[in-house]
Amino acid sequence: MKNKLGAIGKWLGRKLMGILKPIGSFIAKLWRHPKGRLGLIVVSVLIICAIFAPLIAPYDPYDVTERAAKGLSPSWSHLLGTTITTGQDIFSMLIYGTRVSLIVGVVTGISIAFMGAIMGIIAGYVGGAPDTIIMRVVDVMLVIPTLPLTIVLTNLFGKSYLMIIFIFVLFGWTGLARVIRSLVLVLKNANYVKAAELAGASRWHIMFKHILPGVSHLLIMNTALTCAGVMVAEAGLSFLGLGDPTAISWGKMLAEAQGGGALLFGHWWWIIAPGIGIFLAVFSFMRIGLVMEEILNPRMKQSSNVYKIFKTLNNKYIEEVFAQMDEADMLKTKKAGEEA
């Protein structure tokens, strides 16, 4: 019995190390990259803020009973002052706002990566009817205006961040699935996949053991960039009051600042603070995404960062990868021909 447990423990330990080791070495690579270090530091600070918010925040940001401390200017006791309407401490709100942004961003980013990978791989590898159906769904999703639909759906099912995450995932996987699909179409004809097919491997085995690792670099990079994009979008929805009405988020802080007279009374810090929060979160995730791309796909080093995002969104990026692949193949065949 004891031996058995020990064996299970060992097995689990090995599996866990198998997962953690690449993550660890990856973070180490990010740290060694001059641009990645900044992003990594900011993200770590944000994660610490989100987890230990009650310890870091000097006041309770949900406390709306401080009638005497309304609309204070920044001082040592209130680092960013207090709100004009309810006297909440803005610095504490800023710290707590990290939670919503990070949770919505990261959960959506990872879910989109899952959805996009599954759909893209099925569409690309299986082909035929599943491919047609998935690509038609993608085309329909692309023309439906996202923001109005989000407003309608929150009206139907109630306002919550779960709903927002659901809608982001529902609409976010389409672009990624397209990109993954076109990459899978190339991988499908790679020799190692052909070899696995000839050896009698099942479709699922090939899809998850051979194709998935081939597209993983794109998935990892895309997850970080989606997180960044989702954070901006989440701030916008929260600003319109479509998030959870009880939670504190940066977008909602901006809306409260606008509605609470921050503009009128000249309390610029009330507007700047959540804006800087959004900026730092989005910027650091974007940085990490771009650095990841440089690490995972060194061929792309030359062209500029924002254009890469732009192109990823337009599925142009992948075409460039293909062009490079074709070029490499052509060179190879040329060489082979010359040698022969």
Partner: protein
């Protein structure tokens, strides 16, 4: 452009429209057995008998007293006659009329924004590509990283704060009389431009930098191509190379992103419109949402989707005209 390609794209666009239309019909009916409950949710102070009467009235007024299939047929029939439905607002105005009233005001913002972004973006991008690696180029690169991380509505709030409230140069809120009193006189147009300045600036900062960066990369990508070298080698002047060879090919990625911006022309400014109290489609949609006005909401949604479908179609056709390789690839 091949005719078969054109017909294929048009049929496909119609097919997408049919799906979107059907979805649009079903969305208000999700989760309720009777759509009247969605149109008039029960209020706390209402007795059941009263609510039943109201529901009965709603059913009759909005044609819910027939079977769902007939409702769908009626809906499609209405759409064929250009009828998007009737709003809940007092006087029961047609949804299409309300959209017609607000659409120009949204277009004032978004079209001006698009033109400014495209024009200045193209110039900046070409300069950056020209001065590749110098300070002009790196500044644009850094700005584009920053502007992607700053939401447009945050920029709008800052602008409204600084120029609207502190300096009082521009109005921070649009005067609602502006729409009612508009009469195409010079003075009225001036007032509109004065009011639209801040929203347009806050929208176009990101657009200018985005288009600038896009142009820069497109131009540089094309300059590296062999045919540019050939053109230079055969003795064409610099200007000829730029205008005849480089820019035409650099237009391709720009047209793609332009198509994306065009499909977002009428739905893209909801938050900006809300901040500046601009009476456009975005505010109309938010008003509809606040009053639970489903016919209006779904009408706007359908309108926006159709607009996006048409814009995508036009972009694709235009693209295939610029780059005939697309039509060839389609046949494979």
């Amino acid at each position: 452009m091949k005719k078969s390609y054109l017909i294929k794209r048009i049929i496909y666009a119609v097919f997408i429209f049919l799906i979107v239309m059907t979805l649009n019909f079903f969305i208000p009916r999700i989760g309720v057995s009777d759509p009247a409950e969605r149109y008039y949710p029960p209020q706390g102070n209402m007795s059941e008998v009263e609510y039943e009467i109201i529901k009965q009235y709603t059913r009759e007024q909005y044609g819910f007293d027939v079977s769902p299939f007939e409702q769908y047929l009626n809906y499609v029939n209405g759409l064929l006659h250009g009828d998007l439905g009737t709003s809940f607002r007092s006087g029961n105005p047609k949804v299409s009329e309300l959209i017609g009233e607000r659409l120009p005001w949204t277009l004032v913002l978004s079209v001006t924004n698009l033109i400014i972004s495209l024009f200045i973006g193209l110039i900046i991008g070409t300069i950056a590509a020209w001065k590749r690696g110098r300070w002009q180029d790196t500044t644009l690169l850094n700005l584009s990283t920053i502007s992607t991380a700053l939401p447009a509505f945050f920029i709008a709030l800052i602008l409204s704060f600084y120029f609207g409230f502190e300096l009082e140069l521009f109005p921070a809120y649009t005067n609602p009389n502006m729409v009612a009193q508009f009469d195409w006189s010079f003075e009225a147009i001036r007032v509109v431009m004065y009011n639209a300045a801040l929203p347009i600036i806050s929208m176009s900062i990101g657009g200018i930098i985005g288009y600038g960066q896009g142009t820069r990369n497109a131009v540089i990508a094309v300059t590296n191509e062999d045919f540019i070298l050939t053109a230079r080698a055969k003795g064409l002047s610099r200007n000829q190379v730029i205008f005849k060879h480089t820019l035409r090919n650099a237009m391709l990625p720009i047209v793609t992103s332009l198509g994306m911006s065009i499909s977002g022309l009428i739905g893209g400014a909801v938050i900006i419109e809300q901040i500046f109290n601009w009476n456009g489609m975005g505010t109309l949609f938010l008003e509809a949402n606040n009053t639970n006005d489903y016919p209006l909401m779904m009408g706007i949604m359908l309108f926006m989707s159709s607009f996006a479908i048409v814009a995508n179609l036009v972009t694709e056709l235009f693209y295939s005209m610029l780059d005939p390789r697309v039509t060839v690839g389609e046949r494979r």
